[in-house]
C-alpha cells in the first residue's frame, strides 16, 4: 500500500526527521489560506500515487498568495498518469544548496533491509542507479542489530564533506531506518534530502510504501489508505480478498494463482488477444469470491468474453463452479460469453455442477484461451 507524501511526512516528523511544515488543501481557497499561514513563497504539490509529478506539472512554486490559489486550482483536478489530483500539499519553499538521496528497501537477494544514500539526489535516481551505480552507497543492514550509528555515519560522511551536515544526516538515516522497521515499510525514501541556505537538512519529499501483509498489525497506517486515490474495481477486489489489476484488453480473466494468471494473460496475448485484467481469486476460494470476481469484470465495458482458468489445488473446483452458478443466478441475464477450464481438486464435481447449469468446461488451458480469443474477436 502506498501512502501520500503528506502522510509519509507526518510519519517522518514523528520520528524526528525534519520536514518543512505544511498542510493539505482540497480547494484553491484553502490552499490560499494555508499559504497565508505559512508565508510565501510556498510549494504547491500534487498528492497522487505516481512518480514524475514534477515533469507532469504537478509541483509548482508560488511567490504570492494569489499565485498559490491559481496554481492550486490548476493542479487540483489535473490527471497525472491517469490518476486525478484531489489534494495538494502546501509548504514553505526553501533555498536549496544541494540535493541528496536516502532510501531503504528490503533486498530480496541478501534478505535484509538495504540502505542507500547518494549525493546525486533530486534527479531521476533510477537513472543514476543505471548509469553511475558507484554514486550510490549501499549497506545491507543486519536486522538483528539494526542500523548502527557508526554505519550511518560511514554512509553520510561519504556523501557530505561538511562533518556537521554529515552528522545531521546520520541521525536522519538512523531515524529513517527505525521508521522503516517499526512501520513495516517495503520502501522508504527521501528524495531530495536538501541542504538549505542555513546548512540545515530537510526531507523535501517523502515516499513510503507499506507491506500489505503487515497492515493487520499497523492499524494507524492502514487507516491512511486514500480510497479516493484508488481505482474502484481494485478497491472492490481487495475488499473481497481478490487481487485485481485493470488492463486495456477485451478478454476478462478469472484465474486462481498469480503465476497461472500471468501465464494465462501471456498466452492470450500470444494467441492474438488482449487481456482485460489480471485477477487472482487466490487459494481457499469461496463461492462469494467468484461472485465478486464476476461483478468486477462486468463493470469493465471493454470486456467481450470472460475466461475462467482454474487449476484446483487448495482451491476446490466445485467451490468455483458453485460460485459461478450462484453469481449468474444473482445477476440475472449476463450477455457475455463465458468460457471455463476446470482441472485438479474436485474438478469432476465442479463439472457436474456446471453441467446442470448448462455451462461447459474444457480441460486444457490452451483450448480455453484459444476459444476466448476467438470469441473476443467477434
Amino acid at each position: 500500500m502506498k501512502v501520500h507524501e503528506y502522510q509519509a511526512k507526518d510519519i517522518f516528523a514523528k520520528y524526528g526527521i525534519p520536514v518543512p511544515q505544511g498542510r493539505v488543501a482540497q480547494s484553491p481557497g484553502v490552499a490560499r489560506e494555508l499559504a497565508a499561514g505559512i508565508g510565501c513563497p510556498v510549494m504547491v504539490k500534487a498528492q497522487v500515487h505516481v512518480g514524475g509529478r514534477g515533469k507532469a506539472g504537478g509541483i509548482k512554486m508560488a511567490k504570492t498568495l494569489g499565485e498559490a490559489e491559481k496554481l492550486a486550482g490548476k493542479i487540483l483536478g489535473m490527471r497525472i498518469k491517469g490518476l486525478q489530483v484531489r489534494k495538494v500539499l502546501i509548504y514553505r519553499a526553501l533555498e536549496i544548496k544541494s540535493e541528496a538521496y536516502m532510501g531503504i528497501v528490503v533486498d530480496r537477494h541478501s534478505q535484509v533491509p538495504m540502505v542507500m544514500v547518494s549525493a546525486a539526489g533530486g534527479v531521476d535516481i533510477e537513472e543514476v542507479a543505471r548509469e553511475t551505480p558507484e554514486k550510490i552507497h549501499r549497506l545491507a543492514v543486519d536486522p538483528l542489530f539494526g542500523l548502527l550509528p557508526f554505519q550511518a555515519r560511514e554512509l553520510t560522511f561519504s556523501i557530505y564533506e561538511d562533518p556537521g551536515i554529515a552528522a545531521q544526516a546520520a541521525k536522519i538515516l538512523m531515524q529513517l531506518y527505525r521508521a522503516f522497521w517499526e512501520c513495516d515499510a517495503s520502501l522508504m525514501e527521501i528524495n531530495p534530502l536538501i541542504v538549505s541556505d542555513q546548512n540545515k537538512l530537510w526531507a523535501l519529499d517523502a515516499k513510503f510504501n507499506v507491506d500489505d501483509n503487515a497492515l493487520y498489525r499497523q492499524p494507524k497506517i492502514a487507516e491512511m489508505r486514500d480510497l479516493q486515490a484508488e481505482i474502484p474495481e481494485e478497491l472492490m477486489a481487495r475488499g473481497k480478498g481478490l487481487s485485481y489489476v485493470k488492463l486495456d484488453g477485451t478478454v476478462g480473466c478469472v484465474v486462481n494463482g498469480a503465476g497461472l494468471a500471468m501465464g494465462t494473460m501471456d498466452l492470450i496475448k500470444q494467441r492474438g488477444g488482449e487481456p482485460a485484467n489480471f485477477l487472482d481469486i487466490g487459494g481457499s476460494s469461496s463461492p462469494e469470491k467468484v461472485t465478486a470476481a464476476m461483478h468486477i469484470l462486468l463493470r469493465d465495458t471493454n470486456v467481450k468474453v470472460i475466461l475462467f482458468n482454474i487449476f484446483g489445488g487448495i482451491t476446490r473446483c466445485d467451490d468455483v463452479a458453485n460460485g459461478l452458478v450462484t453469481a449468474l443466478g444473482e445477476m440475472g441475464k449476463v450477455d457475455l460469453p463465458i468460457v471455463i477450464r476446470l482441472t485438479g481438486t474436485a474438478s469432476r464435481e465442479g463439472r457436474e455442477i456446471l453441467k446442470k447449469a448448462n455451462l461447459l468446461a474444457v480441460d486444457s488451458m490452451a483450448e480455453v484461451v484459444e476459444k476466448a480469443v476467438q470469441m473476443a474477436k467477434v
Binding site: 528490503v106 537477494h109 534478505q111 538483528l144 501465464g263 501471456d266 487448495i314 482441472t343 488451458m365
Partner: protein, 289 residues
C-alpha cells in the same frame, strides 16, 4: 532418491486442527505420506483421523520421530511456528501459510541461519515426490513418478506444467513450489544444487515469474555448476511495470525483474525458454534425447 522428501519423510502438521490443516493432513496421508503427528497448542493428547496431536513440535519429534514440518497456521502465528519447528530439530520446514509480513520473514531467516533446518516457502504449495511423499497442498493426482525435476515460484502454474508433463507420459522426480513472497527460505539456486546431485533427476524444469532476480541468479548458477539440462518458462510478459500482480514478489522493481530480462538471462546461459506452458513438454523431450 529424489530430493527433500521421500519415504523416509515423517511429517508433523502444525495447525492440524484448523480448516486447511485438517483437510490437507488427510490428503497427505491418503497420498501415502507418513503423517506422524499434528501440533495445536492446548489440544495435546487428542487425535485427528488417527494422527496424534501434541502441544509442541518437540514432542512430535521426540515421540513420533517427525523430521519434516508442514505449517498451516494463520499468518500471525506462522513465524513462531517456523522457529519452533527449527528449534525442535525438523530438517525440513514447509510453510504453506500466506500473508506473513516481510520484515517478520527477515527475522525468521536470521533465526534459521544459525541452525540446520531448510525452509520451503512461505506462501508456497509445498513439495511432492511422486509415489513417495507429498508435503503441502499440491494435487497428488496430477503427478507421475519419473526423472524430471520441477521447481517453480508459482503455485497453480506449477500444477499446469506438471500436469502437461504427466499427460505427455513424462514423470517427475520431485516437484517443488518455492513460494511467491519477496523473502523465501529456498531459492532456485538451492534446488538446482540438489537436483544436480540427485541421481534420479535427468532434467530440471524451472518456472519463474516477474520480480526479484532469482531467475537471473539461477541462470548464472546453471552456467557454472549445473551439467544436467534445464528448461525454463517465465510468466508475466504482459504484466505492466510497477503493478502488483497478486504475489508480493511479483513487482517489477527499478531496472530489473521484468520477464524479458529474465528470459534474456536464461537464454544467454544456453537455457531453452518455452514461449508458452505447453511448449515445455517438447523442450523436455528434446533435452532427454
Amino acid at each position: 532418491m529424489s530430493i527433500l522428501v521421500d519415504d523416509q519423510t515423517r511429517v508433523v502438521v502444525q495447525g492440524i486442527t484448523g480448516r486447511d490443516g485438517a483437510f490437507h493432513a488427510q490428503q497427505m496421508a491418503q497420498y501415502g505420506t507418513k503423517v506422524v503427528a499434528g501440533v495445536t497448542p492446548g489440544k495435546g493428547g487428542q487425535s485427528m483421523a488417527d494422527i496424534p496431536i501434541y502441544n509442541f513440535v518437540q514432542e512430535a519429534v521426540d515421540q513420533e520421530g517427525a523430521n519434516t514440518s508442514v505449517i498451516y497456521v494463520p499468518h500471525s502465528f506462522a513465524d513462531d511456528a517456523i522457529c519452533e519447528a527449527a528449534e525442535a530439530g525438523c530438517q525440513l520446514i514447509v510453510c504453506i501459510t500466506e500473508g506473513i509480513p516481510t520484515l517478520e520473514m527477515v527475522r525468521v531467516m536470521q533465526y534459521l541461519s544459525a541452525g540446520q533446518a531448510r525452509l520451503i516457502g512461505p506462501n508456497c504449495p509445498g513439495i511432492i515426490t511422486p509415489g513417495k511423499a507429498k508435503v503441502g497442498i499440491m494435487p497428488g493426482q496430477i503427478v507421475k513418478a519419473g526423472r524430471v525435476g520441477v521447481v517453480s515460484r508459482s503455485g497453480t502454474l506449477t500444477y499446469e506444467v506438471v500436469y502437461q508433463l504427466t499427460l505427455a507420459g513424462i514423470g517427475q522426480s520431485t516437484c517443488i513450489g518455492l513460494g511467491g513472497d519477496p523473502i523465501i527460505g529456498t531459492r532456485f539456486v538451492d534446488t538446482l544444487e540438489l537436483f544436480e546431485a540427485d541421481p534420479e533427476t535427468d532434467v530440471v524444469v524451472l518456472i519463474g515469474e516477474i520480480g526479484g532476480t532469482d531467475e537471473e541468479e539461477a541462470a548464472e548458477y546453471i552456467s557454472q555448476h549445473v551439467t544436467k539440462p534445464v528448461v525454463a518458462f517465465i510468466a508475466g510478459l504482459t504484466a505492466p511495470p510497477g503493478k502488483r500482480m497478486g504475489h508480493a514478489g511479483a513487482i517489477i522493481s527499478g531496472g530489473s525483474g521484468t520477464a524479458r530480462e529474465k528470459i534474456a538471462a536464461l537464454e544467454a546461459a544456453g537455457i531453452p525458454v518455452a514461449a508458452k506452458p505447453e511448449d515445455i513438454v517438447g523442450l523436455v523431450k528434446e533435452a532427454i534425447k
